[in-house]
């Protein structure tokens, strides 16, 4: 049964009970979690973000393998200041979510004291496209065969920050992303060939900004893409503007991308955005000797000049 692969009823019960306590005790004023979307005939099961404010609503909460979207960006929608208590939020964090949250904390967009974190060691989410090929017909499917590629290459299964864990930690498997197979393949191309690859990719872009809006490293109060003066880019979609948009995006998350893979997952046009992020990760790893370039630190390699930094191009 595929449904059984997707769910963990025991974990869900723990989660609901804990959230109820936290809300009832007033420790948090709302909880960011997931709920199962209404079941539609012939359509894959899906869990979507939800906000729980009333303890009697905790039964809506689920945590399963189709809870894809990172919740941390929703914290930025919550009102701050004054007597607002909305920011005293609880949320579930997997490994990637905790890296994403650290990113927001480090960028002073969220303070650690505002959030209460229920950590969930995670062994991967399911890829909708892979699942759609087997759902609901196939009686037996291996979990590995339907896991998201990003999750298959994950090296941060356990949350790196949390207030409590809802279940036992899992062992960290060595990442396959760090092999950067596809990045090496692109690097081996000539500049002209590489240009052609990206020209084809970017020419499909419709600038819906789903990649930016879902990205935890894209947390600026005012995005440069929405600036009219100076207008770095306009709404024109000539190929030069497409390159400009993707360069701005990639450079702004360089050294700050936590590798959650959401940008690639949400892109309606199937653009290979993550490869740009991984190229930067690989460079940072090689130039600055960072073992895990995804891990947010106090001092980011591109955030501070160090006299020992490599600068062969100067």
């Amino acid at each position: 049964m595929i449904a059984a692969l997707l769910e963990d009823k025991h974990l869900e019960e723990l989660l609901r009970a804990r959230v109820r306590q936290l809300l009832e005790s007033g420790q948090i004023s709302l909880f960011l979690g997931y709920e199962r979307q209404e079941s539609l005939p012939g359509i894959l099961p899906s869990s979507v973000p939800c906000i729980i404010r009333d303890p009697s609503d905790v039964a809506r909460l689920v945590f399963d393998r189709v809870c894809h979207r990172s919740l941390v960006k929703y914290l930025l929608d919550l009102p701050t200041g004054g007597d607002s208590k909305e920011r005293r939020a609880g949320l579930v964090v997997r490994g990637c979510d905790s890296l994403a949250l650290q990113r927001l904390i480090q960028d002073h967009r969220v303070s650690r004291e505002e959030v209460y974190l229920l950590g969930i060691p995670c062994t991967g989410m399911v890829d909708k496209r892979k699942l759609s090929k087997v759902y609901p017909q196939s009686p037996s499917v291996s979990l590995e065969s339907i896991l998201d590629d990003t999750c298959l290459g994950c090296d941060t299964h356990n949350p790196v920050i949390y207030d409590e864990l809802l279940c036992e930690k899992v062992s960290e498997a060595p990442s396959s992303v760090v092999d950067f197979v596809q990045v090496r393949r692109l690097e081996a191309l000539s500049p002209d060939e590489r240009y052609k690859v990206w020209e084809a990719e970017f020419s499909r872009c419709i600038r819906c900004f789903a990649c930016r809006n879902v990205c935890p490293a894209c947390d600026c109060r005012q995005c440069t893409l929405e600036s009219n003066d100076p207008g770095w880019i306009t709404k024109h979609t000539s190929i030069s503007e497409q390159f400009m948009f993707h360069f701005i995006r990639a450079f702004h998350v360089a050294g700050r991308c936590v590798g959650c893979g959401e940008c690639e997952r949400v892109c309606p046009m199937g653009i290979n955005i993550g490869e740009l992020n991984r190229k930067f990760m690989k460079d940072i790893r090689e130039l600055f000797g960072r073992d895990n370039p995804k891990m947010p630190r106090d001092v980011e390699p591109l955030g501070k000049f160090n006299p020992d930094d490599p600068e062969e191009f100067l």
Partner: protein
């Protein structure tokens, strides 16, 4: 309108890639890394026609070819005070092959916006007149399709000029002409045409009628929302998980909003109509900084009130053709069917009617 005919697939392919491509810009759906997109037919590999008509719905609706994302209006050139301005709006003779009935219906709806007698958009109308729509009946709908619920028939030729029925087991490719323009276009290709007996024509229709579309049954036939729905308390909750990206509007065949944007390159520049989205926070932001839709609540409400209420008030139609693109692609599942369900529950609970 007219009888169903068959033509030879290879003969049609040769004509379209040859003579027709010299007279028209021919656009066909192609599979690019798993994304179906419309591309200009330039140097097609043999067998392209069969591949094109067997593809699933495109990521971007076919009808967006008539309202491109960046649509030049005028060019300007010169110094700071003395500008020369020239017209940049253009329309070409266009053939779009592989239009799904949902996207074809969307054009009928956009006609109400851009080609209404009292409110004519010259460029749009010209393009519409110069475009031949060759539809393709839906052989294998996506699980997210619900066009039947929105009053679109996945095999009807009504909204196209010609319709292709790519079903197996027929000798040749079944076609139906549904407009004078289609008739003239077909005649111009000088194909060998074989008329099908009425029974075969009925068999074809029966074949397409029998293809199930489970989501349509679930959706039923939505009624329009009343203007009072603006005040429903549920909008705040519905909008909470919105990411404020423009994916749903850019993929929607009935969304048409644009902004007029100048791009200046030193002493010359281009003014264009560019797609814009009511889901973007700055969509309605005014000079001076006031924003009438400051939060997601107002913006998400606008999207669904526009589709389910305002267009109905103004044009007598709900602006959704059930193509299912938002259902498939919204990163947070905040799509037409989901919102419809939430509104129905809310209205049923509140004793209100509608939907």
């Amino acid at each position: 309108m007219s009888a169903t005919i068959t033509v030879d697939l290879e003969e049609l392919e040769t004509q379209l890639a040859g003579d027709v491509s010299r007279r028209f810009d021919v656009y066909v759906p192609v599979d690019e890394n798993g994304a179906v997109v419309f591309r200009r037919l330039t140097t097609p590999a043999s067998g392209w026609l069969k591949r094109s008509v067997s593809l699933t719905r495109s990521v971007l609706p076919a009808n967006k070819l008539l309202t491109p994302q960046t649509d030049p209006v005028l060019r300007f050139q010169g110094g700071p005070t003395d500008y020369e301005v020239s017209d940049a709006a253009a329309s070409t003779d266009l053939v779009i092959l592989g239009v799904k009935p949902c996207d074809a219906r969307a054009l009928k709806l956009l006609d109400k916006v851009f080609a209404d007698e009292s409110d004519i958009d010259q460029v749009y109308v010209e393009r519409r007149q110069k475009t031949v729509l060759i539809g393709v009946a839906c052989e294998k709908p996506e699980p997210t399709c619900f066009c039947k619920a929105m009053g679109v028939s996945p095999w009807s030729s009504d909204d196209c000029d010609l319709m292709i029925y790519p079903m197996q087991g027929l000798e040749g490719l079944a076609l139906k002409c549904s407009s004078d323009k289609g008739q003239a276009f077909l005649a111009g290709m000088h194909l060998t045409i074989r008329e099908l007996p009425a029974e075969t024509s009925e068999e074809i229709e029966a074949h397409y009628r029998a293809i199930p579309q489970p989501l349509s049954e679930f959706v039923g036939h939505p009624e329009a929302l009343s203007l009072d729905s603006f005040e429903l308390p549920i909008w705040g909750r519905i909008s909470e998980r919105c990411l404020s990206c423009g994916l749903c509007t850019y993929l929607c065949p009935t969304c048409y909003c644009f902004a007029v944007v100048d791009k200046s390159l030193g002493e010359r520049g281009l003014r264009a109509r560019c797609w814009d989205s009511c889901m973007f926070p700055d969509f309605l932001k005014m000079a001076g900084g006031h924003n009438p839709r400051p939060t997601k609540k107002e913006r998400v409400r606008q999207r669904f009130m526009h589709k389910l209420c305002y267009t109905h008030e103004r044009y007598g139609q709900i602006f959704c053709v059930g193509c299912g693109r938002c259902v498939e692609k919204c990163p947070v599942g905040l799509h037409f069917v989901d919102v419809l369900s939430q509104l129905r529950r809310e209205l049923a609970g509140g004793g209100g009617d509608g939907l």
